[in-house]
């Protein structure tokens, strides 16, 4: 399992890529829940969306769907970032650019 430790510069680039991805995903997290579901719920409620008031739909349905998708996007994107910087925890992932599904 263990690999040689990544160089400091590589390590820092990896960490910055991680923080950038996290920032984007957390911004979406905030916008759909606190934004659409709470702060903007009233104006959005003027819009009808498949039988729902739109703000109400975000608060009780939409935000939860987005949360699930965000975590899967994060897991997939981090896998790619791990591989790119050679810090993956899956031995198969570091062998070339293969898109193997991994050890599921």
């Amino acid at each position: 399992m263990s690999q040689q430790p990544p160089s400091d510069a590589n390590h820092q680039r990896y960490w910055r890529a991680n923080l950038k991805l996290m920032g984007v995903l957390l911004a979406v997290w905030f916008i759909v829940s606190f934004g659409f579901g709470i702060l903007l719920a009233e104006p959005l409620n003027q819009i009808e969306f498949f039988g729902f008031k739109f703000g109400f739909w975000w608060a009780q349905q939409g935000s939860i769907y987005v949360f699930v998708v965000l975590i899967f996007i994060y897991a997939a994107a981090m896998r790619r970032i791990d591989r790119k910087h050679g810090v993956s925890d899956s031995a198969t992932d570091d062998a070339g650019d293969g898109d193997q599904p991994g050890a599921d």
């Binding site: 399992m1 990544p6 996290m22």
Partner: protein, 604 residues
């Protein structure tokens, strides 16, 4: 209740009783069978199942661990009566998983020890910090576990006519068997089974009731569809109009202040991410990448129930009003009388017209006190003094889930299923909580603090003794719930949000957060949150309203402010404290990369 040959239908109480026994005993046998099969032999297996759990299985186990008696039995009912304001629970108890997946779980898995206090102790190079974390963990977990045992007792008494005390004792015996014997390994696989039972039991009645009201089998879509009563109105539109006609506010708009909704949602989210029994589930998967994926599966499995709950709530409210409003008591649906017999429904004919009127406000002071006699219409007479409102109906929110199958006239096996599902939800959460309590005692207090150098075997014995003791205490609290049990739920989330979450987060993302900063931060968050909640709940309950709250934030939401205080204190104190030692900096660097992940073990 008397049974005559003519009313023996599919929901005949005798058949339902027999089916319920069958389902409950069958599911218990399954859980115990799994526990025997997956008996734990080492501390590694007892604490974290040797880090060998598949991410999907861990996702299911996490979902069962997380969804408690409150989620299964109470949440849809709370939403039914709160409408839009119920959003705080829906978003608060799911959004926390995004924080957990992105900010905590992968790094804690890479760290690779057994407990949350392990991480705090190592990262902040301090046993004092570890002990503070243990105290937070125990307070949070016991608050929670008492509620679960109570839930077990309630399900037993409602569905099986067993006394609450015996219900709790049976629940204790089952949890004792598989938590003490199987440890994390046994708990994990029983939780997988429990998830399957509870989600099936939740979705089946929800699908039936959605079909009944809208003709659409998917509740999430049915909630936005039109009611098939020929009126052409949408479900939520009809609900809004009906409620306004009766004098309530609309269902789809809230009555809480926006800042309070914001604060409560935030406090529940970061509280969820800081709950030790949830965090520790991510120590059980093989790799860092598995921890990330597993959080996704966990939330997917949780979302199945959490997106169904608002539909169940809205349908149930609509059904409830349709059934009772202006119905003569003598002709009202059977379920109304059945739940009245159990004491979860009460009716006081204030205007003496023999019909039921439902309106805003409480019908009378306090919970119903039955005199034991029957009134003119055959209703149970109440000793309570009537309130000034026109409302004549007392209804316990829990019946929105418990009575749903009966309200929708579903077959007896669906009712039996709900009982098994409620028990699965309560037992799975209780087991997860008991495990983190026993682990923190045997590992963090004994092995790492009081009795250093004990062998693996001795530590395992301490873990089992601690688990057994914790079960007895939890059972006691379940049988004799402190009067304030409902009041202290705010404590569990508030304290987890204000104490553990910020310390763990800074430990991963800041190289500068020091021992002094972390301890000061945790204590500041803990004391502030505790004092605020205690003041409004116990010292001055009369002041518990928006006029006296800080910034309009209720005690339920104050954890958000407590967390901010924790972060600020930790960062400021850290600036004036000696820098983080070099070995700890190496540790931080190593938890930030997934490569080189190992099975969880004791660091020497």
């Amino acid at each position: 209740m008397p049974v005559t040959a003519t009313n023996r239908g599919p929901t005949d109480p005798m058949d339902v009783q027999a089916l319920t026994y069958l389902f409950v005993i069958g599911s218990f046998a399954l859980y115990i069978g799994i526990a025997v099969w997956s008996r734990a032999a080492s501390t590694g297996e007892f604490y974290v199942a040797e880090g060998g759990v598949h991410p999907v299985a861990n996702g299911m186990a996490t979902a069962a661990d997380w969804m408690s008696a409150a989620s299964f039995i109470s949440m849809a009912g709370i939403i039914a009566f709160m409408g839009y304001d119920g959003t705080v629970y829906l978003m608060g108890w799911t959004g926390g998983y995004v924080l957990l997946a992105l900010l905590l779980a992968p790094y804690l898995r890479k760290f690779g020890e057994f407990t949350v206090p392990d991480f705090i102790g190592a990262r902040y190079y301090s046993n004092a910090a570890r002990v503070v974390a243990v105290v937070c963990l125990i307070v949070v977990s016991f608050t929670y576990v008492a509620g679960q045992m109570r839930g077990v007792g309630i399900v037993f008494s409602h569905f099986l006519n067993v006394d609450i005390i015996w219900g709790v004792v049976i629940g204790m015996a089952v949890v004792f068997f598989y938590a003490v014997l199987g440890g994390m390994k046994g708990i994990t696989y029983t939780q997988v089974a429990q998830y399957c039972v509870l989600i099936f039991a939740y979705l089946v009645p929800a699908i039936f009731i959605s079909l009944l009201i809208t003709g659409i089998p998917i509740p999430q879509i049915g909630l936005g569809a039109s009611v098939n009563d020929g009126s052409g109105l949408m479900v939520l539109e009809k609900l809004d109009r009906t409620l306004v006609d009766l004098g309530f506010g609309t269902y789809t708009d809230g009555s809480k202040a926006m800042i309070d909704v914001f604060a409560i949602t935030l406090a529940l989210m970061i509280g969820t991410a800081g709950l030790p029994h949830v965090i520790v589930r991510f120590f059980t998967v093989p790799k860092v990448s598995d921890a990330r994926r597993s959080a996704g599966y966990a939330l997917l499995f949780i979302a199945l129930l959490y997106t169904t709950a608002p539909a169940v709530g809205a349908f149930a409210r609509l059904n409830f009003i349709d059934t009772v409003q202006d119905a003569p008591y003598a002709e009202v649906a059977d379920w109304f009388k059945r739940w009245e017999d159990i004491g979860l429904v009460g009716w006081q004919d204030k205007n003496a017209d023999g019909a039921i009127q439902y309106a805003p406000g409480v019908p009378f002071d306090g919970p119903p006190v039955f005199t034991g006699e029957r009134g003119e219409q055959g209703q149970r007479t109440l000793a309570n003094l009537p309130s000034a409102s026109a409302n004549e109906v007392y209804v316990d929110r829990d019946i929105m889930v418990l009575a749903n199958p009966e309200i929708a006239a579903l077959p007896g096996w669906v009712i039996a299923l709900v009982a098994a599902g409620g028990l699965a939800a309560a037992l799975s959460t209780a087991a997860g909580l008991l495990l983190v309590i026993s682990t923190s005692v045997s590992h963090d207090l004994m092995k790492k603090t009081l009795a250093r150098g004990i062998s693996d075997r001795q530590e395992l014995r301490y873990a089992r003794i601690a688990a057994a003791t914790a079960i007895v205490i939890a059972g006691y609290l379940g049988i004799n719930p402190p009067a304030f049990v409902a009041q202290v739920v705010a404590f569990a989330f508030g304290l987890a949000a204000a104490s553990l979450f910020p310390a763990i987060l800074l430990g991963i993302f800041s190289q500068r957060a020091t021992r002094e900063g972390a301890i000061a931060g945790m204590l500041a968050g803990l004391v502030f949150t505790f004092a605020y909640i205690a003041y409004f709940k116990f010292v001055e309950p009369g002041h518990n309203n928006a006029d006296h709250w800080w910034f309009g934030i209720s005690p339920e939401g104050i954890g958000a402010l407590g967390a901010a205080l924790n972060f600020a204190t930790a960062l400021i104190v850290s600036r004036f404290a000696p820098a983080v030692p070099a070995p700890v900096k190496t540790l931080i660097a190593s938890i930030r990369v997934p490569a080189g992940v190992e099975r969880p073990h004791d660091h020497p």
